[in-house]
Symmetry: C2
Subunit: 346 residues, 2 copies
């Protein structure tokens, strides 16, 4: 089916002007005579006409839009990123083309190609690893590219993210200094992020010659994984006194399981999550979480891209952002203070 859609010329014919006048009506109403304006306005209203933006994209080879690629829509971490990117872009007259990859770099490759073929002016990627072809295409395209959330080893252009290893190191160290000795790390899916965090955790334990207890679930992160990993740890008869979770889903699962088993949080067991999502407050006690500044990341990524577009130049820029602690009841007051302080120093 080829939809027969009206064009500027059709409106112009009805009104009795040329399409140029109708074009002006849309782009700068002040530039057409009041009487003409009214006539055009009436016809537009009656016909529900919407001008075709495609020819303009073609002649300017710019769509005034920015592509945003996220791994998954079922991970709430990214909904804040989407909102930040979209708001910031719209404030600057840009729109967003949104795509997801299902955590698959081959899919990411296809999405990037698609965005480029639609003539986006810039691209934001939220996973740090890409296929070689993706990287090559992005470099050759000479368009602003921002990699966000994690900072890759060798950024393409702009990079704005969290130093997961340092953050987890600092948090682990704080808990040790507050007296916790048997600290476990609960991870899911062995991606880079989880492994960076785990490395920071391990490093802190090693410095104090403490044993590490790492539990990983092969399963994608879901709310029930925390539950499962805690059961596993209990079966192992580990007398853990703190659990650092790779994300809030797992941590809330742990808290629910603690309530079930009658484990006292935070007295007997400290629990901390990662990201600071809104459902932290669902658990009793409320989950303490390492809050990642997702809004700030999105905001800065878009502004960096727009700056490059304005200045017509690309330059490598790497920025780390600071995390904070979402306060709750799953750490002691003292621990919350210590963790907050440590995070503020990174």
């Amino acid at each position: 089916m080829t939809i027969k859609r009206p064009k500027l010329q059709d409106i112009a014919n009805i009104v009795g002007v040329t399409k140029m006048t109708v074009s002006r009506y849309f782009n700068d109403p002040q530039s057409v005579a009041p009487k003409t304006r009214e006539k055009i306005s009436k016809v537009i209203d009656e016909s529900g006409f919407i001008p075709n933006k495609v020819p303009a994209i073609m002649s300017k080879s710019s769509s005034r839009s920015i592509g945003l690629i996220i791994p998954s829509f079922s991970n709430l971490v990214f909904s804040d990123v989407i909102d930040a990117v979209e708001e910031t872009a719209e404030d600057n007259g840009y729109s967003i083309l949104l795509m997801h990859t299902g955590y698959d770099i081959k899919m990411e490759e296809a999405r990037v190609a698609s965005l480029v073929s639609y003539q986006v002016d810039g691209i934001i990627l939220s996973e740090p690893e890409h296929t070689p072809l993706t990287t090559k295409r992005l470099i050759k395209s000479e368009m602003p590219v921002a990699e966000i959330m994690s900072v890759p080893d060798n950024p393409i252009n702009i990079a704005i993210g969290i130093n997961h290893e340092e953050v987890t190191y600092a948090v682990t160290r704080s808990l040790i200094e507050c007296g916790r000795r048997n600290i476990a790390y609960f991870g899911v899916r062995l991606d880079r992020r989880t492994m960076d965090r785990q490395r920071g955790y391990k490093r802190a334990l090693d410095e104090f010659s403490l044993t590490s207890f790492t539990y990983n679930s092969a399963v994608h992160s879901t709310f029930s994984v925390g539950n499962e990993l805690l059961s596993q740890a209990l079966e192992d008869k580990q007398k853990l006194d703190a659990i650092i979770c790779t994300n809030d889903d797992v941590a809330v699962g742990v808290l629910i399981a603690c309530q079930h088993y009658g484990i006292k949080v935070p007295e007997d067991l400290a629990v901390i999550g990662y990201n600071g999502l809104s459902f932290c407050s669902a658990a009793i006690p409320k989950l303490c979480s390492i809050c990642t500044p997702r809004y700030e990341i999105g905001y800065r990524a878009v502004n960096a891209i727009i700056k490059e577009l304005k200045e017509n130049s690309l330059s490598k820029k790497v920025d780390f952002v600071q995390c904070s602690l979402t306060r709750g009841g799953s750490l002691t007051q003292e621990e919350q203070k210590a963790v907050s302080l440590a995070l503020s120093k990174i």
Copy 2:
């Protein structure tokens, strides 16, 4: 910044053919001579070239893409819808343009205009209410439009959704027949969906001359609302024996609060959610929920649109889909059987 991107002509110049041959290479590689094909392939590989799709959209006034508008990325109900729509569309050679409205019909109006201006071939809306201008534009555009999730009173074209009132009526009735007498409804934000459900709940109670206990939170649905509403109900000294929640977030909040207060679920209190999201399994006991077939809805919407595109004709079609019960431990076995049976009869 105007990005200077290579075009077919540039590739053609290097290879020593015309742009038409390069165009053929992309659209039907078999139609160029093997030797030429190789030469072009080599240049493409080295340059990371991606062809511009915009001119093709322009000349065909079709982008082979479908617009999908959802209210929010932070509502996990829609991530399944997105996946279903995207998969089905891609299987048919269509891509998806995804936008969100923040539950605001004025924003929806702008999104629809944007999608139409990008020459999408069809649009999927996931909220049943629109501004008059949105409706007019969609009708005048003569493109396939699918309204999903809820079925509007007066559908524009295709409608595929859930009969929320009937579903909630059936569930409430089942609980009454299983012996529950003091059944509350926990709602959030007074949108149509919540009110439809509430109406079904009320109708069932009225038939048995039972008192209704409706608690509404003005706040957006979050995980902590269930907690708050349950505390409120307890303060009111209502001796409730069942709670029907407007969604799973609230229901999981209720379960967590029950665990905290030592309320026995399901013996003393039955709890049921709505949507059957994956985090139902986070709670202890696992939440029973009215599972909406989101994948099926997305799948059917896309297929209906593509059918209309192929046949080049629009026709009103309204379909209701069936819900099922996500089994868990927040209803008794008997109640789960009864609810399942009732849902299968709608």
